[in-house]
Symmetry: C2
Subunit: 128 residues, 2 copies
């Protein structure tokens, strides 16, 4: 995603309380969510992926090359990941967010990134 | 600003090419810009403050207690800063941004914060 000029934040809590593994924000404001699944069991215990889709223009799963891809839902995109990065194998069907939700998600992304940055740059300062 | 739950980013480049010292983003999406002036000369050489105001709901100057406050424009708010933090002495008259500009600024803030975070957390990765 970085090579596509997305800015990314990890572990972003969504308005419904779920925690997205990776959220990407494109130069034009598109919001992608990537859920990383380390193995089949990891995928099977978390069947809540429609709840991520509600907050993104596109939802991807990122799995290793060994993962049985036929298990993954067709409504989602697919990235293959290894320790060196990821590549998109199948695009996600884009379902554009409504304006109010995009605004709320962009604000959430912005504040989460800035707070994380403050914590890293200035660990003595409480969030208050 | 942190005590008011603003998320902040430093040195944000605005759409007009100027660099804002501090940009704050409130929980509801309000955007404040704070220009820090170390001394009177620093203030006098930079008379471009209306160009910051165009991209914020409110513009503040932050100065030390010794700064002659009568030099500062009435259209801006005032913060007194020392090494321990800052406090608002005079609120800025709020001039609400138009929706499209707020959207563009929020996106700019979000991506800048996320890229800075990536650089700090993962300095080996190029922005690409």
């Amino acid at each position: 995603m970085r090579s596509m000029s997305f800015a990314v934040v990890r572990e972003l809590v969504l308005p419904n309380g779920r925690r997205a593994d990776v959220v990407g924000l494109s130069p034009s404001g598109a919001i992608w969510i990537v859920e990383v699944k380390s193995c089949v069991d990891d995928f099977r215990v978390d069947q809540k992926w429609p709840e991520y889709m509600e907050f993104a223009d596109a939802l991807f799963f990122a799995v290793s090359p060994q993962f049985p891809q036929e298990l993954l839902p067709a409504e989602t995109g697919l990235m293959l990941a290894d320790r060196y990065g990821g590549e998109i194998v199948r695009e996600a069907p884009e379902e554009r967010l409504a304006a109010a939700r995009r605004k709320a998600m962009t604000l959430r992304f912005a504040r989460a990134a800035a707070f994380s940055l403050q914590m890293l740059a200035d660990p003595d300062i409480e969030r208050a």
